[in-house]
């Protein structure tokens, strides 16, 4: 028996499914494939794969419904595959519990990186309670939760309480895209629409953390979707 992670590919385009499975096999993953939403749900239940790669455009049912059904009973990492220009679809999928998304057309390196992040997350979640993590480090950025301190190259950064809240939120979900709505709800509470405030705060955080705010390294923008704190610098 080998310990290769099992990846379920739900994709109705044969060409794309072929290329993804080729790449993943070459990178030491075990593959199961389907092109139907109902089968995907059944296979998730019976094989319990380590990660699901879910295309939102399926012939038999809406990919979003597949996502909802699986999320109802499983916390398995799900990466949604969607076309560019469908920002609303992505936001909906993320808000419904998708862990990440990848935009068609994508390159192999990008795909592998996302899968790695997704798998790591699920392990982390099962191994240790995320609240027990005391410190997080990305490149020169260091966040110490106990001391409530954010520093860059050892220099402490002065943040307002809201800015700190946002950074902590992003770092707790490091590697994952957080939608605008999600961040707003977590930071300002429900029933508010502070999208402008969020943008302003993000701009300030960027100016405090990044060398060039127009070429951010730690917190990247996904236009029309949300923000993500990167796990590893390029």
């Amino acid at each position: 028996m080998d310990n290769k992670p099992v990846i379920l590919i739900v994709e109705d385009e044969e060409g794309i499914a072929n290329f993804i499975s080729a790449v993943l096999k070459a990178n030491e993953y075990k593959i199961i494939k389907t092109d139907k939403g109902k089968e995907a749900i059944a296979m998730t239940a019976s094989y319990s794969p380590d990660l699901v790669l879910l295309d939102l455009g399926l012939p038999d049912m809406d990919g979003v419904d597949v996502l909802k059904t699986i999320r109802a009973w499983s916390a398995i990492p799900i990466i949604v595959v969607s076309a560019r220009g469908h920002e609303r679809e992505k936001v909906e999928a993320l808000d419904l519990g998708a862990d990440d998304y990848i935009t068609k057309p994508f390159g192999t390196s990008e795909l592998l990186a996302r899968i790695r992040t997704g798998l790591r997350h699920s392990q982390k979640n099962s191994d240790v309670n995320s609240a027990e993590i005391k410190k997080i480090t990305v490149g020169e950025l260091e966040i110490d939760y106990d001391k409530r301190l954010v520093s860059i190259s050892g220099e402490p950064v002065h943040l307002t309480p809201i800015e700190y809240k946002i950074i902590v939120l992003l770092s707790r979900h490091i590697g994952k895209v957080l939608t605008h709505d999600f961040i707003i709800k977590e930071v300002w509470g429900p029933y508010t629409n502070e999208i402008q405030a969020l943008r302003v705060n993000m701009a300030n955080i960027r100016r405090k953390l990044e060398k060039n705010p127009a070429a951010p390294r730690y917190i990247v923008t996904h236009v029309g979707v949300g923000y993500r704190m990167v796990e590893e610098l390029d």
Binding site: G85, G107, A215, P216, V223
Partner: protein, 904 residues
Amino acid sequence: MVDFGDNRPNPDDILEDLSADSVNKKGRLEIFFGYAAGVGKTYAMLDDAQEQMKCGVDVLVGYIEQHTRPETIQLMGDLPMLAPKIVEYRNMQLKEFDLDAALKRKPELILVDELAHTNAPGMRNKKRYQDIEELLNAGIDVFTTVNVQHIESLNDIVEKITLVNVQETIPDYIFNNADKIKLIDIEPEELLIRFASGKVYRQERTEKALENFFTKENLRLLREIAMRKVANRISYDNQNEPRLSPKMANIKLLVCVGASPFSAKCIRWTERTAEAFQAPWTAVYVETMESEQLTDQEKQNLRENLVLAERLGAEIVTLNGSDVATVIAEYAKLSGITNIVIGKSRTPKTVFSLFKTSLEDRLIGMLSSIEVHIIPGNTLHHRPAQYRKQRRRLGRNLSFSRTDALKTAAILIAATLFSLVIHNLGIGTPNIIMVYLLSVLVVSRMTMGYVYGVAASVLSVLVFNFFFTVPYYTFHAIQKDYPVTFFIMLIVALITSALTVRIKTQARFAVERAHRTEILYEINKKLLASNDLEGTVRLVNEYLVKIFGRSAILYTQDPFASLAETFRQSPLEPDSAFLLSEDERAVAHWVFMNKKSAGTGSDTLMGARAFYMPIVSQSHVLGVIGLSCTNGKLSQDSRLFLRVIASQIEIALERHHLSNEQRRVTIEAEKEKMRSNLLRAISHDLRTPLTGILGASSTILENGDFLDAETRKTLLLNIQDESQWLIRMVENLLSVTRISDGPMKVTKTPEAAEEIIAEAVSRIHKWFSNWKISVKVPDELLMVPMEGTLIEQVIINLIENAIKHSPEDSVIRVEATKKGRNAVFEISDDGSGISELEFPYLFEAYVPDEKRSADTARGMGIGLSICKSIVNAHHGKMEAVNKKSGGAVFRFILPLEEGENNGQ
């Protein structure tokens, strides 16, 4: 992607057209026509309905009269029946046809008995035939029944035969326009037998009905009339093509309408004649000085007569003038009238009538080529009424006005004083007579009506006699010739006063007429000058309020479909906001759907508080005018004038519709042109990379074993590059489809410029890692209203363009700055710059081949043109310049006016 199927008719559109057709389709009307009650109309109707139901038609019995015979009720069998509407009226419960329920139920065929029935007060329509018209408009077929005596144009003939005045009539057009007439006929003898056995009316009513109506003689005559009416219709149907001789077709009738109730007879006579000749006819009313003095009853009669003529299909004309004969003669000559119909009362000859030439004689004298028909009036009937009227009119003329009396007295006293002065100066009596004549003239001029003029005439003769004839200060006259003087003086004074009053009245008419013409001209001119619908509507409302002194409302669409009405309050009325209420809107909606006037003063929806008139253009309704009736009903005259104005509005609205249509067609053509240009450009651009991919992949597949690793890698890299180019192209095309519906479709939200630039740069960096991209944004957060993904596309395209034109390892600079109320984005490179040849076509999607620069490596294709369309859609500006130090700068500017929110 681009929609290739646009030129083909869209199946949805066709379906929509079809359904629109079926909505517009009018129902068919079938009338079961009989000559008297009891001939079996209802029976025949139900029989036919049963037949229809067997054929699978959805039949509904809308209403069947209560006195229906048992045999008939039996025949109803299992036909579904609509419950009648119960209306309370003076403590009676009346059963009425429930129109709204029928419209809601919408069967294919509905049976409604008694077409001529008058609805109980409080129903929407006054008459049942109006209900039926609504059913037909809703596309429901209708079966109905009617007897010959209810036909409007035959009403008086039937009355003459049977001596029974039938109140319930239907206009002839209903009968004439019916799709099918079924004559139900039995022998009069048989009908009488049926009748005697109580099959027609229930026993208690039989006696009375028999006496009045059901005599053998009457029935025969009625039968003949009914058959002739149907025969006329058949012969009319046979003349589908106009086979009339030109002479026949040229017949045009004119009927003179007055306030007398017997004008109606003339109108009906004319209608029958016109129908027989298939000729158009006009009803003319001449407004003279006497019209001012009509009693209310007469005004009401006149209005009814004109309404009757209109209902029978006449063109209504109101003329002004003092002399009826001249006015009619002029009008007849001008509008090519061939026959004139006038009524003549058999009034007993009086001394006065000896001096007066009758109207018909004068007309015949003036119009040698026009035939004049004289219809005798029934004096017996109307004599007492006439007398009463005359007395009332006299009373009206003698109505006492204190100011006028004072004026008369003052003028006469002044004249007398003046005369006394000149008399004392020894100036002769002829001059004094002149002074008095002058005073009579002044009195007539300054007072209303004949009374004061006549009084002044008599008084001045008396005063002259008293003061200035020997013996003075008595009414005796010594000289023998004085009575002659008095007589002539009286006559002259009377004529003077009569003439003055006439001139005055005419002047007033002339002013009124001129005023109306002027208003019409003004409206016409202004409507022509107004270019937008809004302006036209505002203008119309303004004028309606000004002319009629009533609050006005104008709908230019179905009042239910949109809330886009314009309302204007008249200063002469209390608050008229009720025009905007839901109930009034429903009336306007009815008018819009049924193309008929309704509201106060009409026959339909009389409960409304305003009068509504549709603006109809060639069968479709362009709008509805509503005039508030808080201050009383609109007069017939005002309605006619409103109609004239409505026709002006119709022209103006029609013009707008046409120009809108024109504009739409132009835009559509423009779009089509753009689309085909784009398609041409795309296919040109796509061919190159596809050829490359196909070539490289087939090379590897076919000759893979003979290729060295290096070559194979190059070929694979080529495939990758070309595919990436294709993907970028497709994303550009996606952006185009998002904005091709017009600039209104861009949904702007404030976005941070740096976030957009950052994402664009990170995406382009994945493809072109050999070029350095330096980005600069202001320290203050720059929020720009935009559609983020589209602007990101613009930046990507511009950076890609810069990369294409600059050597590897060179630096591309991207910079965003805030300048005044604009955000400026600049992408500059150190490359070759833009060649002179390319400048004019830089942002064009499709460049004619001969103008295309030799630099095919550009490969941007439609990229730059898409940038420009996106920026334009954001109401921004786009420009490109060459730097002095070499290289090009592409710049686009987006306005910040919405959601300006910089920094904290």
